[in-house]
């Protein structure tokens, strides 16, 4: 089929779904009750584009193809066109977005059942898919930015989906504000690029990195990276992601695990020729990624909220991906995006299934007259759920093993490749890569431990909720378990697209051949000196080391938590002492921001503007916006209501105009 035609419908269907669901729900209140209608439309408009993308993928000729629908604005040099690029990178991202997206839509059909905002949810979710597709398919930075802002908006709307709860609105606002900082950096990068190169389409800006001076290039890459830290939750802008779990769980799975948060990685992979030409910034990227990875992993060990564990785990895995980017292994970062999408989406959906079951428990307890409240997300009140939710338990376990990196599961291949690339880059003489590699090894161990902890605490041991012999959760409906099974199967086998270099000298590493620039793909790679003959043994050694760490971590976690249960947390806390407090307190990032940024801002503005307050503005003045407001409040009193004052103003105006025109 004609690829222009396919691209058109891949983009238009989700948009049409968003419009149909939104307008239908808004204007036909009678229709809102018919949930299946919204569910079917919402899922179909994502599933069909997935099929269309598959067709595009299968008939892909190896030649990047740009489709320009029309030019929106052409002014001087600036030419903003709705142009979309089909190449290896965008195809693989589109497959993930629509494929995982379709499964999560299907899952939401069951998960959101009975919610009064059912139609709204599907409208937002479809809109998100549309924006995300603009992000990954756009052929120029303005279209990418349009998608970038669009996913931010949808994320904001969906985090605050249950907006009647003030906490959720606060989380949504936090995500919004933090992301604005990143977006500002992105915009600045765009301005620099446009000023220097006079164009913003990828064909031009990636053609020759030498067209920019080295300092400009460094700035562009650094600014883009700052933009990426906002969207992809890296230090120092990661603080919004854990709070974003306030949204419905499918949202966490789709937006805050599988797709939106990886857009920063996509952006860097897309501009990889520029990144490679800025080695100092690459070091920054790698180190920030490594620090984020280990920091989030240590926090994850101490969390009791099942979704928060997964949230910090996501931050940590994103750190891994940035590590790969920072050592020039862009295709490996995308490989990890690919496998991570499967197992992390499966884990989140599994946690959603658990929460669904625990909600039922809470509900039943209330009916039975039980006083007090249980938190359906708290792992401390769960336990032994595998007895009641076998499908959820099995799929969760499979994905846990995948993320822990047990050999032959998908996470094993992608994570090992990242560690190997870090090692190789260090071996080739880039010292910082050693640091990254060591941090990566430790984080991999921690990952295995905290993920097994979350599995064991949730699904094994004894039931810990009150009246457990009378009230039990039950397995979720098929619309929820089918996506779980599909995703967990992919989490098991997904890694085979990227077999490591020790097998057939990397000839079977399909994803490398698909994406890598040496094979005609869009993702650039650094040129490393050839290694000696003994390097193959080192490679094998590293694989064995990685496997040992994963297996050891899982074995340790399993033994510790299956035997001691929650008590083991106490043991860890005694062994690590104040360090544990630091982890539990999430390194006090929120408090530090509050002290260093938020409070001074508020205090400063109060002190400076206090004298005006008494006379000018009622209430509290705390920001620049209020100064404008204050000016408005003053100026409005010029409007006295007396017609002769107005006439006087006219005469004044006459004097001014005549003065300027006659003597100016």
């Amino acid at each position: 089929m004609n690829s222009d035609f396919l691209v058109q419908w891949i983009l238009l269907l989700p948009l049409a779904g968003a419009v149909l669901n939104g307008l239908g729900g808004l204007f036909l209140p009678a229709l809102r009750e018919r949930e299946s209608l919204f569910g079917i439309v919402g899922t179909a408009v994502v599933a069909i584009p997935f099929v269309l993308t598959l067709i595009l993928f299968l008939q892909y000729s190896g030649e990047a193809h740009v489709t320009t629908f029309y030019t929106w604005m052409a002014a001087g040099d600036l030419d903003v066109s709705f142009a979309y690029r089909i190449d290896e990178l965008s195809l693989i991202m589109t497959l993930v977005v629509t494929g995982v997206g379709a499964l999560i839509h299907l899952y939401s059909v069951g998960y959101m059942h009975g919610d009064p905002g059912y139609w709204r949810f599907f409208a937002y979710l479809n809109l998100f898919i549309f924006a995300m597709l603009n992000l990954v398919l756009g052929d120029n930075l303005p279209v990418l930015f349009l998608g970038w802002e669009g996913v931010g908006l949808c994320s904001y709307l969906l985090i605050g989906f249950w907006y009647t709860d003030l906490k959720n609105s606060a989380a949504a606002n936090k995500a919004f504000i933090v992301n604005r900082i990143g977006d500002f950096a992105f915009l600045m990068a765009m301005f620099v690029l446009f000023k220097e190169l006079g164009a913003l389409d990828f064909g031009t800006i990636l053609a020759d990195p030498q067209a920019l001076s080295q300092s400009n290039l460094n700035w562009v890459v650094l600014l883009l990276f700052i933009g990426a830290t906002g969207k992809s939750a890296q230090i120092p802008l990661f603080i919004w992601l854990p709070d974003a779990m306030a949204g419905p769980t499918p949202v966490s799975a789709l937006i805050h695990a599988a797709t939106m948060v990886t857009s920063g990685l996509y952006l860097l992979a897309r501009v990889s020729p520029l990144v490679l030409a800025a080695p100092q910034v690459m070091a920054v990227i790698a180190i920030i990624g490594a620090l984020t990875a280990i920091m989030a992993a240590t926090i994850a060990i101490t969390q009791n909220d099942i979704k928060r564990v997964l949230a910090y785990s996501t931050v940590s895995q994103l750190g891994f991906m940035f590590m790969a980017t920072g050592v020039g292994a862009f295709f490996v970062a995308i490989f990890h995006v690919f496998t991570h999408a499967f197992f992390k989406a499966c884990l989140f959906l599994g946690s959603g299934s658990v929460i669904h079951g625990m909600h039922h428990v809470e509900h039943e307890l209330h009916k039975k007259g039980h006083e007090g409240h249980i938190d359906p997300q708290d792992m401390r009140t769960m336990g032994n759920l595998r007895k009641y939710m076998p499908a959820t338990s099995t799929t969760y376990l499979l994905s846990t093993l995948a993320i822990a990196g047990i050999p032959l599961f998908s996470g094993f291949f992608s994570k090992d490749e990242i560690l190997f690339k870090a090692f190789e880059y260090g071996y080739s003489g880039n010292t910082y890569a050693w640091f990254v590699w060591i941090v990566g090894i430790i984080t991999a161990l921690l990952t295995a431990i905290y993920m097994v902890r979350s599995y064991v605490l949730t699904f094994r041991g004894k039931e810990r909720w009150p009246m457990a012999d009378e009230v039990q959760p039950h397995e979720s409906p098929w619309t929820m378990t089918v996506p779980l099974w599909i995703l967990s199967s992919l989490a098991v086998v997904g890694g085979f697209v990227g077999l490591p270099g020790v097998i057939a000298h990397g000839e079977w590493n399909w994803i490398h051949h698909w994406l890598g620039a040496p094979y005609g793909g869009p993702v650039a790679e650094p040129v490393l000196p050839a290694h000696g003959g003994g390097f193959l043994a080192i490679e094998w050694g590293l694989i064995l080391l990685g496997s040992a760490i994963a297996i050891g971590g899982v074995w340790f976690g399993w033994r510790a938590y299956d035997r001691h249960g929650l008590d083991y947390d106490r043991k860890i806390s005694e062994a690590t002492g104040r360090l544990y407090g630091l982890w539990r307190g999430k390194y006090y990032w929120d408090e530090i921001y509050d002290r260093l940024v938020v409070q001074p801002l508020i205090r400063g503005s109060e002190k400076l503007l206090a004298p005006f307050d008494e006379y000018v503005v009622d209430g509290i003045v705390n920001g620049v916006g209020h100064v404008t407001r204050g000016a408005g409040q003053v100026l409005r009193y010029l409007q006295t209501g007396r017609v002769q004052n107005y006439a006087l103003a006219i005469v004044f105006g006459v004097a001014v105009v005549l003065g300027i025109i006659l003597f100016g």
Binding site: A75, Q639, V657
Partner: protein
């Protein structure tokens, strides 16, 4: 002047001025119809039909170059057609949304509609004038009709009061305007706009008379478009007038006054000297309109200040003094007309206080988006467009007036414009915040509940949807903007020949 065969071209002139003739005749028919029959339900629809007919005529006429008719008193075709389309569209929309609204407030008189039509006829004369006589006659025809329309709700003290203010200040500014005409006449010896450059080139008249005259002439226009500091009547009058008619006043009358201003500066005046005045006035207008709008709680009054601010944006385009700037200004007027008529239309449909919207504040409309989704969604279009968000017409409009100003070296003015439009997001988006995200108070006003229970009138819905849809189309396909640039390039050669 040789008067042999004075009526020879009358037939073709009347044909060229089809819209004007049609509106005048239809206006008379409406008056007669109203006095002969007790039932005036059909009257507004006669006006709508006439406007639509005239729009289709002007659409056919628009691609050709503008030509002089009635012995050079007026222009027809080209940009004159474009301006007429804006005026006629505003007329048709206003007539359609007023029917239900005036019924509801209990002031549905037949002559209202004929007054709107007569005012539109005046605007057409003003917006396509080529002589200061036609400018004056058009301006006054329009103004007198608008004075009456403002005071329509005789039972409401506010309405009459705002009519008095509008009238006194309007007449006052007319005095200056007319004095400007006299001085300009003394300086150039002609009242025809396109003859002035030749007269000036001949060295006739004194500098003081000329520029004093231009300055005073500007006062009249700046008053009508409510630019600072001649804007002070605007908030009071807009708040007091019936809401749908406020929408009409704020769009059509501004469009035609701006069009006449463009004609004056384009045809009659050598550039440079007047640019600075307009630039300074534009800056003051943008700052004042936007800043004071932030402090308003009554939506009608807020929209009044917003319309002041938008007059500032249009002035930025005109102050650029280039044909690109003029065409940008004309395009902006089209966009502005759509979004402002829409916004006032929504507010008219939400008016529950029984005092022509003079008393109700924004917060009383919390959560209205879910109760009347059409109003909420279309208000979203209008507010985003007024703020200047892509991909709506407002964005392209701002681009169309700001870009020529930068080319003309008025970067400081554009910076003021961008900063103030950023500030304007605060009050525009607050409307949407209240409509969609604010939970209604425990006890809503009973009058509001009653209003919510009754369905929206069909004509209002259609107008709102059409306005919102056109804004989206203008934002996504900015081809219309390119067509406006052609208007001036066509006749620019002719003007150069005269100079």
């Amino acid at each position: 002047m040789d008067l042999t065969g004075a009526y020879a071209s009358l037939g073709s002139d009347l044909g060229n001025a089809f819209s004007l003739v049609l509106l005048s005749v239809v206006g008379l028919v409406m008056v007669v119809w109203d006095s002969l029959r007790n039932d005036h339900r059909a009257i507004p629809w006669i006006g709508v039909a006439a406007s639509v007919l005239a729009i289709s005529f002007e659409l056919l006429r628009m691609p050709g170059p503008a030509e002089k008719i009635f012995y050079g008193l007026m222009w027809a075709g080209g940009y004159a057609s474009f301006v007429n389309i804006i005026i006629l569209a505003a007329t048709a929309f206003t007539l359609a949304i007023s029917v239900h609204y005036l019924d509801r407030i209990g002031h549905n008189y037949g002559e209202v509609y004929s007054l709107v039509v007569f005012a539109s006829a005046g605007m057409i004369v003003l917006g396509s004038a080529n002589s200061l006589i036609t400018v004056f006659v058009g301006l006054e025809t329009m103004s007198i009709c608008l004075y009456i329309l403002t005071g329509l709700v005789r039972t409401e003290e506010g309405s009459v009061e705002s009519a008095l203010k509008y009238f006194l200040l309007g007449a006052f500014s007319t005095g200056f305007f007319l004095y400007g005409i006299a001085l300009l006449y003394a300086a150039t010896g002609t009242l025809y706009l396109d003859e002035m450059p030749a007269a000036l080139a001949g060295g006739a008249g004194s500098e003081v008379l000329l520029w004093g005259g231009v300055g005073l002439l500007f006062i009249g226009f700046l008053f009508k478009v409510s630019a600072a500091p001649f804007h002070m009547w605007t908030p009071d009058v807009y708040q007091g007038a019936p809401t749908t008619l406020t929408g009409y006043m704020s769009t059509a009358s501004k469009a035609s006054a701006f069009a006449a201003l463009v004609l004056v500066v384009y045809h009659a005046l050598p550039a440079e000297r007047w640019m600075l005045v307009l630039a300074i006035v534009a800056a003051a207008t943008m700052i004042l309109g936007n800043v004071v709008a932030i402090a308003q709680s009554n939506v009608k009054r807020m929209l009044a200040y917003s319309s002041i601010a938008h007059a500032g944006y249009v002035l930025v385009g005109i102050a650029a003094g280039t044909t690109a700037g003029y065409s940008g200004a004309l395009f902006y007027l089209l966009v502005y007309t759509l979004m402002n008529i829409g916004a006032f239309g929504v507010m008219a449909a939400l008016e529950w206080d029984g005092h022509v919207g003079q008393k109700q504040d924004l917060d009383s409309l919390a959560g209205i988006g879910y109760r009347k989704p059409l109003l909420g969604v279309s208000m979203g279009f209008f507010m985003f467009s007024l703020t200047g968000f892509p991909p709506l017409g407002g964005f392209i409009g701002k681009y169309a007036v700001f870009a020529p100003a930068i080319d003309a070296g008025l970067t400081w003015l554009v910076i003021v414009g961008l900063l103030t439009s950023a500030a304007s997001a605060y009050y525009y988006l607050r409307v949407l915040y209240v409509f969609w995200m604010k939970s209604p108070e425990e006890e809503a006003a009973p009058a509001l509940d009653q209003l919510m229970a009754s369905p929206l009138s069909m004509s209002t819905s259609v107008v709102l949807v059409v306005c919102a849809g056109l804004l989206l189309v203008l934002g996504i396909y900015p081809g219309v903007l390119e067509s406006t640039t052609l208007f001036f390039s066509d006749s620019a050669a002719a003007v150069a020949a005269i100079r």
